[in-house]
């Protein structure tokens, strides 16, 4: 048992799985000698050598395309795209090959690969380094999209992702890499893909979120408890696709009031799908319109103003109060 931050926890998952399974490979830009620009792959090159920890040339399409080929031919690549803003250079490989290979070949082939991608804002970064565009991937049939919210579930989710027989987009909220430490057990722990977690129990209001917003939402829930006496249930999705609607349906039917929180743009964001499911499955349980607290439909501003874009505790509390008062 060790207190790890999320970067270290992901590193632990990679290391343990590479020790256990020599078909697991790591590749990407600066992942070897440099240990990754966020140091997530630190030490792996030294331990596993350059055949298995590959510092690639600067070409995202080749990183993903090569991973697809490796995966089809018996390896388990975990590739890293340095920032989600550059993952579009590989989008045709993800959409056109990774996501379709099983389908196109009628399961003659399958693609057990993981694509790790740091995403999201809040770290005072440059343009293209702060977006939350998980919808692109969640909207692509054939891809699974998972997003941890902290060290322990990051480690568990990554193990499940590596062992999954199909391509998994593993989005890492970069604001969480070093945000806090948490006990992460030495013995292996997995988190099934497609299952969410109740991060806080409550009977008055359901708050549905994931990724870096989970911390903000938990804080907002505490504030609501302190200031309004409202006990919110917080659901941490962990998987955006497949979306686990069972847990939040249960919660929504109990509370009748809902706020959905994400950093992604509002229109066509994951919230739109979540709320549709609520309409489909829990409409008659609702006491008030479901609220959304999200990023806006604009390109996230450069860092001097990014705070006004990213949902913060106060905005989440305001959204929750709206859901309670309507």
């Amino acid at each position: 048992m060790a207190e790890l931050n999320m970067a270290e926890a992901i590193n632990l998952a990679l290391r343990q799985e590479m020790e256990k399974d020599d078909s697991v490979y790591v590749l990407g830009e600066d992942v070897g000698v440099d240990g990754g620009v966020f140091r997530v792959t630190d030490g792996l090159l030294k331990q596993f050598g350059e055949d298995r920890v590959m510092d690639t040339p600067l070409a995202e399409a080749a990183i993903v395309g090569m991973s697809v080929g490796m995966a089809m031919a018996g390896l388990k690549p975990v590739c890293e795209l340095q920032f989600s803003g550059f993952s579009y250079f590989a989008f045709h490989q993800l959409e056109g090959q990774a996501a379709r290979m099983r389908w196109r070949s009628r399961s003659s082939y399958h693609v057990p690969m993981v694509c790790r991608i740091p995403y999201g804002g809040g770290v005072r970064a440059l343009e293209h380094h702060s977006e939350s565009r998980e919808t692109y991937y969640a909207h692509t049939p054939g891809l699974k999209v998972v997003i941890p919210s902290g060290p322990r579930n990051a480690r568990a989710l990554l193990l499940s992702a590596i062992r999954d027989p199909d391509p998994v987009i593993f989005l890492e909220p970069k604001a969480m890499y070093r945000a806090f430490r948490e006990e992460v057990p030495d013995e292996e722990e997995t988190q099934p893909i497609g299952e969410s977690q109740v991060a806080r129990k409550g009977d008055d209001l359901t708050m549905i979120t994931y990724g870096a917003m989970t911390q903000h939402t938990l804080e907002a829930a505490d504030k609501l408890s302190d200031e309004d006496g409202i006990e919110a249930e917080v659901i941490d999705l962990l998987s955006v696709s497949p979306l686990d609607d069972k847990k939040f349906t249960e919660s929504v039917r109990k509370t009748g009031r809902v706020v959905v929180v994400h950093e992604a743009h509002r229109s066509f964001g994951p919230g739109a799908e979540i709320i549709s499911r609520i309409n489909e499955k829990s409409f008659y349980y609702l006491e008030a319109p479901v609220q959304r607290v999200t990023g806006y439909d604009v390109i996230i501003p450069y860092f001097a103003r990014e705070k006004a874009y990213i949902p913060d505790v106060d905005r989440i509390v305001a959204g929750a109060r709206q859901a309670m008062n309507d």
């Binding site: 830009e29 440099d34 620009v37 439909d297 501003p301 103003r305």
Partner: protein, 363 residues
């Protein structure tokens, strides 16, 4: 059915004019006029000092992450000085010297680096594109602009800048191929600074040179000493003439070195040794150029001292001005601007909601 050699038209040349001490090869010296030489030197020095100040300001949290140009001033200034002011310039993210040459105020660069979108605005009359971070992608826009110039019979070429790492991206190859296929007036300046973050040049590609990548597209490619402003200037001049005559694009590989961090978020100690940096320090383009200017009586030692003082003042007052401007830039509602010519209703609604929310909170 024979098996025979296919003769390729081009070979790759290497051009260097100044020696380590700044002594020129007389036959190759492009004999740049005195005013231009002085302006080149001044801009190189300004870029260097500006980088140094910005590194300090970054550490103090006054600005955010940025990519210093340190060491690459000759590649940048030698190339941009060889073309006309109304030619186009398409940068990547490390072209501080080029931006300063083109007239971009330091205040604009500071606003950008301090996280204000206002820093992206292109000063009136400058045919420059804004900073482009997705590696190599801007090269295709450069080809499109060049094609537009050609179609509109405008005598303007397009300079575009990128690094050694960029040559691995598909966009690099696609741009080169298109440029040659449509014979566009492009000059592609590859600043081979030996590193793409932690990946050394020889690991980036097994090709012996980067210039030779042009040959595959039937395009001339030349390698130059990128720490020699005269060599870069001479090669760019030739490429520019070719472009203006309608003979199409050229790839110029400038052999240079990133004397500083990749960006301020980077720690080169992880991947390269000091000996290498020390070796390249000896080839620092600025003292080399100064020796040349000194030997040619264009610039004396005391001129440099006076210039250093002047530049120091200039950089400091640019910060003061930028800081002053930042005071009036705290309104986040501007994030709804510049997305479309007209703001659609759904965005206006979101903008109003943000406005209302802020007013309610601030009383």
């Amino acid at each position: 059915m024979p098996r025979k050699k296919v003769r390729l038209e081009h070979a790759v040349e290497y051009l260097s004019i100044l020696d380590k001490q700044g002594k020129p090869d007389k036959d190759l010296d492009p004999k740049i006029d005195k005013d231009t030489l002085l302006r080149m030197h001044r801009t190189m020095l300004l870029s260097r000092r500006f980088d140094e100040y910005q590194l300090r300001w970054q550490k103090q949290g006054r600005i955010g992450t940025f990519a210093p140009a340190k060491g690459q001033e000759a590649s940048q200034i030698g190339s941009i000085a060889a073309v006309e002011d109304d030619d186009w310039m398409v940068p990547s993210f490390r072209e501080t010297s080029v931006a300063l040459w083109r007239g971009t105020p330091m205040t604009g660069l500071l606003l950008y680096n301090a996280g204000y979108n206002e820093g992206g605005q292109i000063p009136e009359g400058q045919n420059d594109l804004p900073i482009s971070i997705p590696v190599a992608s801007q090269m295709n826009e450069a080809v499109g602009i060049a094609y537009a110039m050609k179609m509109q019979k405008k005598d303007r070429l397009v300079m575009s800048y990128f690094g050694d790492g960029a040559t691995s991206e598909g966009d690099f190859h696609e741009a080169l191929n298109f440029a040659q296929a449509f014979k566009t007036p492009n000059v592609f300046i590859c600043q081979n600074n030996q590193w793409a973050i932690s990946v050394p040049r020889e690991q980036q590609t097994p090709s012996k040179t980067l210039a030779q990548k042009a040959l595959a597209y039937g395009m001339p490619g030349i390698q130059v000493d990128g720490n020699d402003p005269l060599a870069v200037y001479a090669a760019t001049r030739e490429a520019a003439e070719r472009a203006r005559k309608g003979d199409g694009p050229t790839l110029i590989e400038c052999i240079t070195y990133r004397l500083s961090v990749h960006t301020t978020a980077d720690d080169p100690g992880k991947y390269r040794d000091e000996e290498e940096e020390e070796h390249w320090q000896e080839w620092d383009p600025i003292p080399r150029f100064q020796h040349y200017l000194n030997n040619h009586k264009v610039l004396r030692k005391k001129d440099i001292e006076a210039l250093e003082k002047e530049i120091d003042e200039e950089v400091k007052s640019a910060w003061d001005e930028a800081e002053e401007q930042m005071k009036s830039l705290d309104d986040p509602l501007v994030m709804f601007d510049h997305l479309f010519e007209e703001r659609p209703a759904y965005l206006e609604e979101q903008r109003q909601a943000m406005k209302q929310y802020r007013e309610d909170r601030n009383g």
